[in-house]
Symmetry: C2
Subunit: 244 residues, 2 copies
Amino acid sequence: MRPPHPLTSWLERIVEPTAGEYAAIARLSAEVRSLPADQPLRRLGEEAGSAFLVLEGILCASKPAEGDKHQIVAFFVPGDLPDLEALHLGRSGQDIAAITACRLAVLGHAELRALCAAEPRIAALLWRATLVAASVSREWVVNTGHRSAVAALAHLFCELSTRLEAIGLARGGACDLPLTQTHLSRATGLSLVHVNRSLQELRRRGLLSLGNGRLAIHDWAGLAALGGFEAGYLHLPRPRWMAA
Amino acid sequence: MRPPHPLTSWLERIVEPTAGEYAAIARLSAEVRSLPADQPLRRLGEEAGSAFLVLEGILCASKPAEGDKHQIVAFFVPGDLPDLEALHLGRSGQDIAAITACRLAVLGHAELRALCAAEPRIAALLWRATLVAASVSREWVVNTGHRSAVAALAHLFCELSTRLEAIGLARGGACDLPLTQTHLSRATGLSLVHVNRSLQELRRRGLLSLGNGRLAIHDWAGLAALGGFEAGYLHLPRPRWMAA
DNA sequence: CGACAAATTGAGCCGGATCAAACTGAGTGG
DNA sequence: CCACTCAGTTTGATCCGGCTCAATTTGTCG
């Protein structure tokens, strides 16, 4: 008896799967791929034949910008499906790379398409997952476009903490978050130096502490207010402790 | 004999529809809604029961930012499906408003879901449309995050011109583009004053002219180079004149 | 101990924000 | 036909948040 396919628990986190859905997923091949930290997974424009489900680790998607800079446009945490878009666009629209060492379930496009045709509810939920990613991306436009440095960072930490909380990898605003200040600068569009100073500002205000790959939010309400964070765009069931 | 449903020509622009697909679309109710300029269509958080296909006009999606500012996160032109995401997310994630007077085909969510279940290829193409919108949104993160004022504007004009070209509303970089400088400032995150000065800079360099609701790109290669524009992220068939 | 990645600090500068005002053109009503 | 209004554009002056360049410190690992 094999362990269930990783997509099973992904599905169970959202709905109560039917027997048919269980069976259809069980029919998928269950390749798991390991990726060391800092390794590229996909390159912009590359033709892709498979998608991934993150089991462990953190990845990011980035696009080249002016000079040799790269703007990070998304982070992926366990339960996310990086590059699922290539399923219908054929090629990857960004560079995707591991930040920490990762374990990924490989989902072949052909199998995925067959699954979607056979199980329309799964298709709708995968579609939905891409829509949530798009919603996050629009929020990032606001973040990089209109918010000050401290606000942008505050917002980013609120988002990541909330997403990690939703999958049980954060509790009460504390989580492992092995991002360097360079990652943060590439995600916000700020200079490395200014990220450093803005982080000091956030610490000095007693809003959070960040270091050694660990984030602890000490004043959730204050941080969310500063960053203008409204969790709705993540389309997650809102956990109790965050209410009001 | 009724005219064909507007979604028919949307589909025909991408694939050769089957008889079954024609029939399934013909079964949709064909309500068309008119919307005067500057009228809101959807508000953030509003529960939505229908999606739209733009037949005429330009709309934009925006999200509230610091103070009473609103960051524009997307423009919609004919052939686009604003707020299609609400089909699977239930509520609208942004404010959507007409910029010019618009005509929209109304697509009820229930009918749309039935259509997707019956015609998986149409479902995949609608999914694809949302993925392209997401890809554009990620490019906007780069635009607002890393590009200078002139570069961000140059990139925006390249994008809009390319999209309008693809639906036959632009030729050789010239198109009607009834955006005010205020719209441009809200889309790029720049101040109105600075947009004005950056536009003068673009005109002075002989790259484009913009005024009276009309955009003319005089030096496509120069403008694209300045803005770092690579049309790939739009996932359109690339027109000949743009090559090399 | 040396090497290297990451974090931190300091100084000077600039792109773009802000504030304030004037200008243009298209209505619109007397 | 003119005065008025109002949205949109333009200009000028000033200020500051964030960038750049350059160095130093800290922590980790071999």
